[in-house]
């Protein structure tokens, strides 16, 4: 009972932040190369491939968050196996073909110098790696490890939310210079998530 309430609460929080991310994505509809984040990417938007990759990233990544509502549910997994399977394929295809490769390109052009570039590109590489591992374990029907790697993959997906949340909290408390905040959250945004994922996996496997 207690865990049901907790589950519901977590899903509600996820829904709220997914909604905020939807709003962030919608800032680029109708598309304009000086909207929101692109306003401070004056040099980058002149590179021929930057805007196409930016569009791939912004308009596909949002859908990956949806996986969080269905794929971790034991009920859907057992009662509606096909739903789990199709949505899982969608998650993997969108992530591997669009969101992650475009994320790598954007990461390469990240503001803040090599520290934030490294952070975002490492995030992209780990995102692809964990998702491929998860896929291969699913094919081998090694469900335990499939689940473990999907927990890691989704933890990295959630960095879209946690990065902005860290930024909000850090600015709220310390008011640092914008770029200092950015360099910090480029790492915090996914490393913390990955640590939490490992804790979850460790506790799950111990049971």
């Amino acid at each position: 009972m207690k865990s049901k309430v907790l589950n519901g609460l977590l899903l509600a929080i996820l829904a709220w932040f997914s909604y905020l991310l939807l709003l962030i994505s919608l800032q680029y509809i109708p598309f304009s190369s000086d909207a929101a984040f692109l306003r401070i990417k004056i040099d980058e938007v002149k590179i021929w491939y930057y805007i196409p990759f930016f569009k791939f990233h912004v308009f596909t990544s949002f859908f990956l968050l949806i996986a969080g509502f269905t794929q971790f549910s034991r009920w859907i997994r057992t009662k509606f196996r096909n739903v789990h399977r199709y949505l899982g394929w969608a998650y993997i295809v969108i992530l591997l073909l669009f969101s992650a490769p475009s994320g790598l390109v954007l990461g390469y052009h990240a503001n803040g110098g090599w520290t934030s570039q490294l952070a975002f590109m490492l995030l992209g590489v780990l995102w692809i790696y964990t998702t491929i591992r998860a896929l291969r374990f699913a094919i081998k029907k090694d469900w335990r490890r499939h689940q473990n790697f999907m927990i890691r993959s989704y933890a990295l997906t959630l960095s879209a939310i946690s990065l902005r949340l860290f930024k909000y909290v850090i600015v709220f408390i310390w008011h640092p210079l914008p770029m200092d905040t950015y360099r910090l959250v480029a790492w915090l945004g996914w490393v913390v998530n990955l640590v939490i994922a490992e804790v979850i996996i460790y506790r799950k496997d111990k049971r």
Binding site: L20, A36, G113, R164, K167, Y168, H175, P176, P178, M179
Partner: protein
């Protein structure tokens, strides 16, 4: 169906207050509509002291201070108000016989005047009127001794219900020439007299007053208390006051060294450099371009900041045509970062 999608997209997009803040309106002479006002530029002689009538032609620049009595001033203080002062430029454009024509520029207000000039062996005395169709119009009276380099005078508003209806000034003749290399002065470097701060917040706090005067009115000290306090005590109190004012948005709104080390009229500002700046840096650097062109600012904080630069003279209320290509580029990039910071610095979105 297509319409339905579009409507819902627009509706959702309207909820953006959850992810970003509102932009404020900018004072941006780079895009402002050109004014119709005839901008007369006098051709002054090089003489900074007045040896002949010709030497009177030109810009007379200095502080336009209130001339209120102690009780009138106190009445303003009591309602949490205080008379501000600004740099004024009284331009004597043309002298014909005993008639004089000119204009004054202060606080983004460029107003013509005309009147009479009284010449004696000892002095020149001016008595000139503004047109009277603006509520801040009035009458300037000023005089200068022969061979002197200071003009002394006063100004009375036609409308004596204005908050500050009379003012005084002591002006020096200045030759204005656009100089891209004019540097921003770190004007709190004298630690004996001033706290070591280069901040637009302090400028706002002072708002034309000396910092001791500001301290006195903010903390409600009497004259005798102020006299008993040591310089260190006062500085400490001022620091506290500033910290309180900036309680929530301290660092970000403080200018860093970048605002004085860079020159936005001569350096090409790259995105990677601007992205490292605080909002105050960006704000100061963008507006310093206009200041170098002698733009007279509308906004109080900008006036207070640039009025204190020794090279700054308010010359025009419209400088759009004067900007160089480099400056236009820098304004564009600074404005992009300034607006982005305003919307996204402390919000969830980006």
């Amino acid at each position: 169906m297509k319409n339905l999608i579009l409507i819902s997209v627009l509706f959702l997009a309207a909820c953006t207050s959850a992810i970003k803040d509102e932009k404020t309106e900018k004072e941006n002479p780079a895009t402002a509509e050109p004014e119709v006002m005839e901008d007369f530029r006098p051709e002054p002689t090089e003489n900074l002291s007045v040896q002949s009538r010709e030497d009177l032609i030109g810009y007379w620049v200095g502080w336009f201070e209130h001339n209120l009595s102690e009780t009138e001033k106190q009445a303003l203080y009591d309602v949490g108000d205080y008379p501000s002062y600004n740099k004024i430029n009284i331009s004597v454009d043309r002298i014909e016989e005993d008639s004089v024509f000119g204009h004054s520029v202060v606080a983004n207000n460029n107003r013509p005047f005309k009147g009479v000039l009284e010449s004696t062996d000892a002095y020149y005395a001016f008595d000139v009127l503004e047109p009277g169709d603006d509520k801040h119009d009035g009458r300037f009276k000023f005089r200068i001794e022969r061979n002197d380099s200071f003009v002394n005078g006063n100004w009375m508003a036609f409308d004596n219900t204005l908050k500050v209806y009379k003012r005084k000034y002591k002006l020096k003749k200045r030759i204005y020439k656009y100089d891209a290399t004019n540097e921003l002065e770190d004007w709190f470097v004298d630690e004996e007299k001033h706290p070591e701060r280069d901040s637009i917040d302090l400028v706002n706090l002072l708002d034309g007053r000396s910092w001791e005067e500001a301290l006195k009115s903010f903390n409600g000290h009497s004259d005798s208390v102020m006299q008993r306090m040591t310089q260190d005590d006062k500085l400490e109190e001022l620091e506290q006051l500033l910290a309180e004012i900036n309680e929530t948005e301290y660092e970000f709104y403080m200018a860093t060294d970048m605002s004085v080390d860079l020159n936005s009229s001569t350096d090409t500002l790259k995105g990677e450099v601007v992205s490292e700046m605080s909002k105050a840096d960006i704000y100061i650097l963008r507006n310093s371009i206009f200041a170098r062109h002698g733009y007279s600012f509308k906004k109080k904080d900008l006036r207070s900041y640039f009025d204190r630069m020794s090279w700054y003279i308010p010359v025009h209320a419209n400088i759009r045509a004067e900007l160089t290509e480099l400056e236009k580029k820098n304004i564009e990039i600074l404005l992009a970062y300034e607006e982005h910071a305003e919307e996204y610095y402390d919000s969830f979105g980006r």
